[in-house]
């Protein structure tokens, strides 16, 4: 395998230096490298890890495929994504998760880790074959019914207990569905004025509190998906503190999406469902609290909830539209806008919330690693000065449902490398192929 010199790069935005790659691993130095890349002014970060991606394959290939979603991920600086199981068929069996995992390997642009369903068909009533999914080649370690909440407290308790033995984490879409029947937008003055049925934040907060208590009692690991309110963050803080001394093995982690850091509920005012998402966009008091919670570590990481939808699922009346928005190619710039430009995080902090923390939550050994000799050459190079304007049609996803259409993004991903191989160079996806080196799942 080749040797590469990345010249004059700024790891974590710090002083310029050279990085060297040999056989997919970062090394101290290389004499006479096969390839030298001039990285003047570029910031190097460990490859980004997304705990929450909808790749839509199988069953939703009109909106996204493993191939197009992988390309979008690599262009966004990602080297690993977790593909949510709400596909058709649902990824609730070893066969489906293995299929998605193999498709990811064939495409080879990013490590695709299937998330297994917690319950059969995401129906919330019967545990899916979590152990067999964990033992399959896909090595599933994250389970979720995302899109639906595991609403039944007894099923949730059993799932948490069962996952403990698999060294797996249950990622909960926190939404008490009894409180959100027909809900369309954040319950508050904007929805009241627009005549949109309100999504009560208590539906999210009460489930987070309940699940944290169940996980503490079970000594299990709970991950809170797309946390969206100030009080949700407070509950996570409380769970870590008050419940922290519970049974060993207990851990609660949480993610926030870029759109909940930037956009607010007033975006619904033109009734364009490109802004319809679940959980809904919240008022600015929440976005500000979520930024602080991400900065202080209460919220561990950023996850995109990248949710491609075909045109007809969005170009319609609000209540008929599917919830969700694209995120992979805009996540890092939105984090820079909301966290770096505001002084809440530096580039070290970005590496933490976009790479190291999510890798740790999911138990990935070879992602989110330091940019140090002996570590995998899995990284992304960002131009912190190269602004660009979002055009949905120009994104790599098959779908174009970005809420940032026409918005200027402050930074650009220039190159992405997965275990020593370029997946993106000069902003262009590199020819895909069999993944070189072993994919580690645990």
């Amino acid at each position: 395998m080749s040797t590469i010199r990345i010249r004059n790069v700024r790891p974590y935005g710090e002083d310029p230096t050279d990085l060297y790659v040999r056989d997919g691993v970062l090394v101290d130095t290389v004499d006479d490298p096969d390839e030298t890349v001039d990285a003047d002014g570029l910031v190097a970060l460990p490859g980004l890890v997304d705990l929450h991606t909808h790749l839509r394959e199988p069953g939703g290939e009109e909106a996204e495929t493993v191939a197009t979603g992988s390309a979008a991920a690599a262009l966004g600086g990602y080297t690993a994504v977790f593909a949510m199981p709400n596909t058709d068929p649902v990824a609730d069996s070893p066969v489906v998760v293995e299929h998605v995992w193999r498709r990811g390997r064939e495409v080879g642009l990013v490590d695709v880790h299937p998330v297994g369903a917690v319950t059969v068909g995401l129906e919330g009533s019967k545990l899916a074959e979590m152990g067999m999914m964990a033992a399959s080649p896909a090595g599933v370690r994250v389970f979720s019914d995302d899109g639906r909440c595991v609403n039944d407290p007894l099923i949730m308790r059993r799932a948490l207990e069962y996952a403990r033995a698999l060294d797996a984490v249950v990622a909960q879409h926190a939404e008490d569905h009894r409180l959100t029947v027909g809900a369309q937008a954040h319950e508050g003055p904007v929805a009241a004025r627009l005549g949109l049925a309100g999504w009560d934040p208590t539906a999210e907060e009460s489930i987070i509190a309940r699940d944290a208590m169940l996980a503490a009692a079970a000594g299990a690991r709970l991950h809170v998906c797309h946390l969206s309110t100030a009080r949700s963050a407070e509950i996570v803080r409380w769970a870590r503190g008050t419940l922290g001394g519970a049974r060993s093995g207990f851990r609660v982690s949480a993610e926030v999406t870029p759109h909940h850091l930037l956009l607010t509920d007033t975006a619904a005012e033109d009734y364009d469902p490109v802004h319809k998402v679940n959980p809904p966009l919240r008022p600015s008091a929440d976005t500000e609290a979520l930024r602080r919670a991400l900065a202080d570590g209460t919220v561990d990481c950023v996850a995109t909830d990248h949710a491609p939808h075909a045109v007809e699922a969005k170009d319609c009346e609000w209540s008929a539209a599917r919830p969700g928005m694209l995120g992979l190619q805009t996540a890092l710039p939105v984090v820079v806008t909301t966290m770096v430009a505001t002084g809440l995080l530096d580039w070290r902090g970005v590496a933490r919330v976009c790479s190291e923390a999510p890798a740790r939550v999911a138990g990935l050994a070879d992602q989110g690693r330091p940019l140090s000799p002996g570590e995998p050459a899995t990284l992304t190079l960002v131009d912190p000065e190269a602004a660009w304007t979002v055009r949905g049609a120009a994104l790599a996803s098959l779908a174009a449902n970005t809420p940032y259409e026409g918005m200027e993004m402050p930074v650009s991903v220039v190159h992405t490398m997965l275990r020593g191989r370029w997946t993106v160079q000069d902003g262009a996806v590199q020819e895909s192929g069999e993944v070189q080196g072993e994919v580690q799942d645990v």
Partner: protein, 336 residues
């Protein structure tokens, strides 16, 4: 009054999607024109004005509503427009055609105006945005298909609020300074939203009277007072005065079984306009109801049939108001 001679009357209205977005001068112009329409028609043997001859008005109704559709249709016909009715059950809608395709088809087929009723809040806004994005050759470079919201989900029903304001003007002689109590299911009511905004714009004082379960979270940001006690409101509030008008909202059957209140009986006792309550009203006070009324539930039959009730006047005012809306949207500045 400029309708009869048809001179310029542009008030800067492209669509009528909500009363929230309506300025006071626009609202008053619409009400003045509606009054003018009534005068222009009074005493005519043939109730037909030539104003919209050659114009095509399409009603696109995704919910049944005989009274609103007929009112718009009569308004169009009395102004010599060609009116066409499309209803969800009778058209390609039931075959699954998207709202966008339906709107585009009707625009391309030559509609000058689409009057839309839809169960989804914001549907008329979406249609207006789609139609504004494409040109329509039959309307010329400057023309556009005007969209009128005839009731969208739980959002707004602007012509209902205009006809209520027209009725209040006729009965009370004014809207400014009047105290109007709106009683009932505010949460699900597009009539309440449109009236709250329009009455506030016109300088009236509004009190919403409703159990907390039938008020939207966030109502505190509306330009209204809120009460949970109908008797207290009828007795006069802190701002000084009993209502000059009481507007009763319909309670839909599905709400009665939706857990929003314990029983129809309890609702009628606490929030119904009984004869005893009506007797406490000032002599000049008006009772309004957008119809169809559930007699014995939100309003006693004797009250609905009393001279205090303006229910049939509301219907008549509805035609004049809708004529005014069509006039300002379609005749506008360029009427000959």
């Amino acid at each position: 009054m400029t309708v009869a001679d048809g001179t310029s009357t542009g008030i800067g209205l492209r669509h009528l999607l909500s009363t929230e977005a309506l300025r006071r001068d626009q609202a008053e112009a619409l009400l003045d024109t509606a009054a003018g329409m009534e005068q222009a028609l009074t005493g005519r043997a043939v109730r037909k004005l030539p104003t919209l001859r050659g114009r095509t008005v399409v009603t696109l109704f995704y919910e049944n509503s005989t009274r609103t559709r007929v009112s718009f249709e009569v308004a169009g016909k009395w102004m010599s427009a060609d009116t066409i009715n499309v209803s969800a059950s009778a058209s390609s809608v039931s075959k699954g055609e998207s709202l966008r395709d339906t709107a585009a088809t009707l625009g391309a087929a030559g509609a000058d105006c689409l009057i839309v009723r839809h169960p989804a809040s914001g549907a008329p806004h979406r249609i207006a945005a789609w139609l504004d994005r494409v040109g329509h050759s039959h309307l010329g470079a400057e023309g556009h298909v005007a969209v009128v919201n005839a009731g969208d989900g739980t959002h707004e029903h602007p012509t209902q609020a205009l006809l209520d304001a027209a009725t209040l003007r006729a009965r009370l002689g004014r809207v400014e300074g009047a105290h109007v109590a709106i009683v009932g299911d505010v949460l699900h009511s597009r009539v309440a939203r449109s009236n709250a905004h329009l009455l506030a714009t016109l300088g009236a004082r509004v009190t919403l009277v409703s159990p907390p379960t039938l008020l939207p979270v966030g109502v505190e940001s509306w330009p209204v007072a809120v009460s949970h006690d109908l008797d207290a409101t009828l007795g006069g509030d802190a701002a000084g005065g009993a209502p000059d008008a009481v507007m009763m909202l319909r309670v839909q059957a599905e709400r009665m079984h939706g857990g929003f209140f314990p029983s129809a009986r309890e609702y009628a006792i606490r929030f119904g306009l009984s004869q005893a309550r009506a007797d406490r009203l000032a002599d000049h006070a008006v009772v309004l109801h957008p119809g169809p009324a559930v007699r014995g539930m939100e309003i006693a039959s004797s009250v609905a049939d009393s001279s205090r009730a303006a229910i049939t006047e509301q219907v008549t005012a509805g035609v004049h108001v809708r004529m005014a809306v069509l006039y300002h949207l379609l005749a506008g500045e360029d009427v000959a």
